[in-house]
Symmetry: C2
Subunit: 341 residues, 2 copies
């Protein structure tokens, strides 16, 4: 191992209030740590930027602990082993793990999972064969439970989770309506992913009326990635015994105004609907099942995916911030380096 | 049967907007209809006034159809058979059914269920051994699923459903906190029903702080009968994997202002909580199980109940309106007449 290799890291410098800015982060250069017994050095190929990471930047109670100040941001990363002091991996192996936002991670080999490039390109393990594909799979099928002929509405539909939710709902035989923020995204949902309808919430004057038109039989499943006014509108169309998997509320993450809206309890009672927040970790014991199904649908051509790739480690923060502008179609990734082997 | 008997009915004259008034209702006198083959005449002993009936007075879509204008209000009634043209019942039998708000109902005997006065007084079949006891039983145990040592909060705690929710939660070994609207109710909850704490939301300046004090380990189950600001406050204390059976939202039923409040989706996600609206009809196939358990607890002295009885058929509308002022401790009933036998 070349001890002269310089590592570059992104640290959380201050906790954002409202929308994060570049000033909340800090770049730092240090030497790459040597791999001890059982450890490996992983060169970052792609890093994943995800809305949930905004939550970890605050110190409010949540399902995962907050990032510490002046420590490296941690997220999903695929990388290549460049040095190994472990029997588990050899140089050149491709791996995925929850790793630091840095050019190189020196970690215990046990914390990594090997990925198989013969099934899909390495970046796919950060989307369809990774956290976002699994999140869509479990949230939709376990909580949403769409049945043939039912109507499934998904918000953030062209995002990293939403694009799989809609496609899996189609596989289950449901009518699928996506809500997204550009015409390009809506066209993609309808023309590429086979959604039955797509609504551009930014150009639609009356989202309630547009939803009513797109959902003539009401809404049986609402898979929510965004929260806020869009969710308010969908709630008005719930059918009896509707199911609402709550995956994300990206519209609320940077709000500092209290996030007020119509109370939904009466609607929930009148329709006897079920709403449940969830995170992928709730399904830790079923990940293999999910990956197998997703892999099968992928190989059968039933599941497509899209990536928005931002090039260069130095642009990672910008890529993260762009999530909240809805700049991505499909999974937003940062390409840090090319594989050597 | 004395054909000279005069019936008195309460009809829905106009649909209320906001809080109902006496003017929305009309009294009418007509002769009592004769019992045809298979029919019986039931003299009303007690009629049940319940918040859900407010929903049926509007014509909005809900889980039961609205009352028709100029027709008799229908609700839970216990009565005594005074004439029978059916093998099912004889004069003097006590029965329960969904019947019209009138002194006498002439109905098919098949629509009635006989009640056993040796187990409990007839009025109990409109509360602990009736709709409200069963509603508490299924909502709490099926959706709430309280475990030993968990904290259960119930709003409308001294009401017809809430008083059973808290007691059943105690039977399950939970810490129980009730929210009610008078000191008398709070004392009743703590001293008579064994609640661990009770909060008078009308005299408490800061309901959030009072809840935090009463729930040092957070909230695992929130059984909601009221909605509105009280529910907003409880939502801030949800533990991970909290369960929220939505039974009623009495604070919202007469609102005409849009019922705005803090959006709860982010909290639901962060805690991976489950919220579900339900009505007793969802558990139609399990009513026998529920009645058996409730009867057992009642006979063992583990379940107490209270009734607020308004005397006289002419006061039925007033009793109904008083529900929304929180005038009742326990089940609000109208006593229409004494049993003959």
């Amino acid at each position: 191992m070349n001890q002269q290799l310089t590592n570059k890291q992104i640290l959380l410098a201050t906790r954002p209030v409202g929308m994060p800015t570049e000033q909340n982060f800090e770049f730092k250069e240090i030497p790459v740590a040597e791999a001890q017994d059982g450890q490996v050095v992983v060169r970052t190929l792609y890093l994943s930027v995800d809305p949930y990471m905004r939550g970890r930047m605050s110190d409010a109670k949540s399902y995962i602990p907050p990032y510490n100040l002046n420590e490296v941001i941690v997220g999903g990363i695929v990388g290549e082993i460049v040095e190994s002091n472990s029997d588990l991996f050899k140089a050149g192996d491709k791996v995925i793990g929850m790793l630091g936002w840095q050019l190189y991670n020196t970690v215990d080999a046990m914390t990594l999972r090997q990925i198989d490039e013969s099934i899909a390109p390495v970046s796919a393990y950060l989307s369809v064969l990774g956290l976002t594909g699994l999140t869509a799979y479990f949230g939709l099928l376990d909580i949403g439970q769409p049945k043939e002929g039912e109507t499934v509405v998904v918000s953030g539909a062209a995002g990293s989770v939403g694009m799989f939710v809609g496609q899996i709902a189609k596989i289950m035989g449901a009518r699928v309506v996506g809500i997204a923020g550009t015409n390009e995204k809506c066209d993609y949902l309808k023309n590429e992913l086979g959604f039955d309808a797509a609504i551009n919430y930014k150009t639609t004057d009356n989202i309630g009326a547009a939803l009513e038109q797109a959902c003539p039989n009401g809404v049986d499943v609402y898979f929510d990635n965004v929260g806020g006014e869009i969710s308010d509108a969908v709630m008005n169309l719930l059918n009896d015994y509707a199911r609402i998997p709550l995956c994300g509320a990206i519209s609320s993450y940077n709000r500092t105004d209290g996030d007020m809206g119509p109370r939904i309890l009466t609607k929930m009672i009148k329709t006897r609907s079920l709403m449940k927040g969830f995170v992928l970790g709730d399904y830790a014991d079923r990940q293999l099942e999910g990956l197998q199904e997703l892999g099968k649908w992928l190989s059968e051509g039933k599941l497509k995916y899209e990536e928005t790739i931002v090039d260069g480690f130095d642009n990672a923060i910008d890529a993260f911030l762009q999530l909240f502008q809805g700049a991505n179609i499909g999974k937003m990734l940062v390409k840090v380096s090319d594989a050597e082997k």
